[in-house]
Amino acid sequence: MAAARKRERPGTEPEAQAQAQAQAQAEAQAQAQAGSGPPPVPQFPPTFSISEIKNKQRRQFMFQRWKRARRQEQLAAKKKRQKEREALGDKAPPKPVPKTIENQREYDETTVDPDDEEVAFDEATDEFSSYFNRQTSPKILITTSDRPRGRTVRLCEQLAKVVPNSHVYYRRGLALKNVIPQCVAREFTYLLVINENRKVPNGLIVSHLPNGPTAHFKMSSVRLAKELKRRGKDPSSHSPEVILNNFSTRLGHSIGRMFAALFPYNPQFVGRQVVTFHNQRDYIFFRFHRYIFRNEKKVGLQELGPRFTLKLRSLQKGTFDSKYGEYEWIHKRHEMDTSRRKFHL
């Protein structure tokens, strides 16, 4: 049927008459040369492209045919390659590694070397050193922006269960600048503010209190505990373990340490709860699981608490002060978002 259409169409279309003539000539030539046999595929002039055919039905038909032919070629090539590989056996060259964005990531000069002394020295003397030297234990204050709606309030409560030694306070229109000295006076180490927009939490400000850095994140994909599928029972009050994945640059390191200092230094392994901050392409995924080792090779995970993704917007040196603070890092869209393979965390 397709072949019949092929021969009828060129005659009826007024626009494809040139093609029809070319076809007829080519066919005539081919037939003259080859003699008998099915009519060969017409040879089009090299500047011709399928997208130039004006008739939609014909264009679609030609494109499908081209696609089918290409697919068959690719399958054939693949089979050939597989056969060669099998034939060679052990001597076959190693499989080529597919390119991923992580593979192709542009080299960041601030990537931390595990045995870099300068970094180690910096980290021993920065604001979190007192936590990592076990001098201070964390105490967290969780609050929201003005007039929080239900989702935000529930998220605060759930976060308070995830993070041990945390307290939730209502904002009631207080200015953070006045709140912070009071927190310092009562020996809080962290201030977490969940910003809300249109009844949905969309921002997170993490401020290390004595005079530590303040990080401002964009929060997205917030799922409260009861919206998760296959959820476990409520989290117990044991201190969870912390997993920090893929924080490779200096900036990432400092953010990672900031997250690590939220949780008490000695996790209670009996509780079998783990908090994960996984950085992938500058998005930090927060998860809260309960795990169980089935044998030494298999772990079972059960998701408990809320989950959300964070994207760092700015890191400021002192405590929260958006006007006069000194910013270590701000996300500038026109400078930093130009390459798909450049990440900062």
């Binding site: 117990s236 996984h278 992938q280 080792f293 772990v299 995970l301 994207k311």
Partner: protein
């Protein structure tokens, strides 16, 4: 004499006035020089040739005056006087400039001035408090970020990453003695050692052992004693199970599903019964050399 009454008759009542805003109960006047804001015979700046207002520009208050003498010169019509920042002093200034003017205009000017100062104070107070900054969202950017987040989530393979990390920690021994698995790590270490020794021995002593006669111990377990063994094994298994139960009960309080690989708490009956002793025998043989290794 300016035709004020005529103007008012036309604008206020009969004809159209572009500054007039009509509502159900009241008429307002949108003229910027109007002193009260209402559309009245006495408040209309067009229908009064002698008129005064107080207006505020960038925090500074001015007294504007219009007199009939300048009615022919619209450019010079309104005379402006800057009022002092001091409230009482400014009121005196208004009185001084509007001396001999109608009572109504004087009164309304002072009222308007009072209101203006009050709202200027309020502005200054509010600036000191928290200010909300509205940040516009670029829809294209939001869409792009959302898509990239989805792709990053897929690339992250979170569950695998977390499991891998936890298993790493188990291997490194951060959990110390909480879990029962170290035996298997010993087994693995042993297997590795065995492999190494086997490869070594197979390479070196392959030729030497051929043809030599060796006398080897028989297996400790005879097949005729299987029945006795089964009883012994059951007893030992129960002991093991009790130990494991004690350990597992503390861990597995909240788990609803029992892992299928754990040894059953109740002895299995039926065809599986015959297979079990065979498996248990192998296990026991492997643990004995492990015990020997630890002791030495």
């Amino acid at each position: 004499m300016q035709h004020d009454d005529l103007l008012w008759d036309l604008l206020g009542n009969k004809q159209f006035c572009s500054f007039k805003v009509k509502t159900k109960t009241q008429n307002f006047c949108r003229n910027e020089y109007n002193i009260t804001g209402l559309c009245n015979r006495s408040s209309c700046p067009l229908a009064n040739s002698q008129y005064a207002t107080v207006k505020e520009e960038r925090g500074q208050c001015f007294l504007y005056m219009k007199t009939i003498e300048r009615a022919a010169f619209p450019f010079r019509l309104w005379e402006r006087v800057k009022l002092s920042k001091n409230y009482e002093r400014a009121l005196e200034q208004i009185d001084e400039h509007l001396i001999y003017w109608p009572r109504f205009i004087r009164h309304k000017c002072k009222q308007r001035f009072t209101k203006i100062t009050q709202y200027l104070i309020r502005i200054r107070k509010l600036i000191l408090k928290r200010q909300r900054k509205l940040v516009p969202l670029n829809k294209k950017v939001e869409r792009r970020e959302k898509r990239r987040e989805e792709k990053a989530l897929i690339a992250a393979q979170l569950d695998n990453a977390i499991e891998k990390e936890l298993l790493e920690r188990l291997k490194q021994g951060t959990y110390e003695d909480i879990y029962n698995f170290p035996i298997h790590t010993f087994d693995k270490a042993l297997d590795k050692q065995d492999e190494e020794s086997e490869t070594d021995s197979s390479e070196e002593e392959d030729d030497e052992d051929v043809g030599q006669v060796e006398y080897v111990e028989g297996d400790e377990i005879d097949e005729s004693d299987l029945s006795d063994l089964e009883d012994n094994l059951e007893g030992e298994e129960e002991e093991e199970e009790q130990e494991q139960e004690q350990e597992q009960s503390s861990d597995a309080e909240e788990l609803e599903k029992e892992p299928s690989t754990s040894k059953g708490k109740t002895p299995v009956k039926g065809p599986a019964h015959k297979k079990r002793p065979y498996v248990e025998i192998e296990y026991e043989q492997e643990t004995e050399p492990a015990a020997k290794v630890t002791s030495s």
